[in-house]
């Protein structure tokens, strides 16, 4: 089966849906974003390994997914290393401050794998980022995992957007940035499965812009009470 869509000003991206089920490890799957991503990806042809410190919380997410979709291939797993070893794709859904520790643990088993960075390195007062202007959370994760294929995705979408990816009649865009074409294609497919319009934004350094965009959206959300249901949409001809 082939599916294609135009991605902004970039070339037409053709996706070939694979029959072989890919395994995705979601580290931090009991959190707001981690559980939202897990729920929405369970609709696709993926096998999900949900991983988090609090086993009861992550087990609850598994139960919730199974009750709405009994056919979903999903299970809780208590070890991020085991989950990442089995995985083809790893989603690091932990706060920026915890990423380094996770990276150290999974470094060996994530070799050559796609690792998705979703975090926004916000400071505690939500008025700036803790990262230096010449880097980003995604680039820092890439430094910790030099042989992994780090891709930035799902950082400009709020957790609530995953259950409502069409907001005010328009499908939210979700930006994807990274350095490897194959990895970008795979992650775009994930974004599309989650219900968003994937938009290739550029190489991994574009994550600096994407992380600042979410800082702005968070500030706007608090100022105008969007109730955490808001997203980006690029208007174009």
């Amino acid at each position: 089966m082939h599916r294609a869509w135009s991605v902004g000003n970039f070339a037409l991206l053709e996706i070939k849906i694979m029959k072989t089920m890919q395994t995705i490890a979601i580290i931090g799957a009991s959190g707001n974003m981690g559980s939202a991503i897990s729920k929405s990806l369970s609709k696709g042809n993926y096998r999900l390994l949900l991983c988090a410190r609090e086993q009861d919380k992550v087990q609850a997410v598994v139960e919730e997914i199974r009750s709405s979709n009994p056919a979903a291939a999903v299970e809780a797993i208590d070890c991020s290393v085991e989950a990442s070893w089995e995985a083809d794709i790893i989603i690091v859904a932990v706060p920026y401050e915890a990423e380094k520790e996770v990276a150290q643990k999974i470094r060996e088993v994530s070799n050559q794998k796609i690792v998705i960075s979703i975090s926004n390195p916000l400071n505690s007062s939500y008025n700036g980022l803790v990262t230096a202007p010449d880097t980003s959370a995604a680039e820092e994760l890439q430094k910790s995992l030099p042989n992994a294929k780090v891709v930035k995705a799902f950082n400009t979408t709020f957790a609530a957007d995953f259950s409502t990816p069409v907001i005010d009649g328009r499908q939210a865009d979700a930006f994807v940035a990274g350095n490897e074409e194959d990895a970008l294609r795979t992650v775009s497919e994930l974004v599309s499965t989650a219900g968003f319009n994937p938009l290739l934004a550029g190489d991994l350094s574009v994550s600096r812009t994407l992380e600042n965009m979410q800082l702005l959206l968070i500030q706007l959300n608090m100022k105008y009470n969007y109730n955490w249901l808001a997203g980006w949409k690029i208007l174009h001809q």
Binding site: M18, K19, T20, V109, N111, Q112
Partner: protein
Amino acid sequence: MYDLFFQKFQEKVPLSNEEQEQIKAYLTPKKLRKRQYLLQKGDVCKAIAFVEKGTLREYSVESGSEHIIQFAIEGWTISDLFSFLTGEPATYHIEAIEEAELILISKSAHEELLKVQPKYETYMRLLITGAYIALQRRHTSNISLPVEERYRNFTEMYPDIVQRVPQHMIASYLGLTPETLSRIRKKMANRE
């Protein structure tokens, strides 16, 4: 995690520590559970898999019945080489019949390694040559040998697989029904 991979590599082509580290950066460690697919027919085979631990089988399904093409146990490599090399959809399924620990070499890693490390190229040439020889040996045996001799050759060449793999899969590999294989085994046992 990579011990057996590099042990087998070094048996054919010795490597310095630096070369080993360089190659390691391109490898993907991957675990499969029992009955999980590494590849399904119709997808492009994107990696060569080296088995660190466990057993896999490669097979086709023709009008409802399975035909096993290859087994792989510790120290062996397995892939749909035709699909891997041509980029065409795979004609075989590859499945773990025991929980497995694999080292994958993706197509892009393979191509990059061929460029940057001549010793990898040598190793791959030897591997693919070996795979071709095994394939031809199998064809010849299937065409020209009586079934009993085919089974005896198999047990002599691959005693480990005979221990590890259920009989009906060995029958499928040899192109026999499980009943025929069981008859042959009984006959051989009686003679001894």
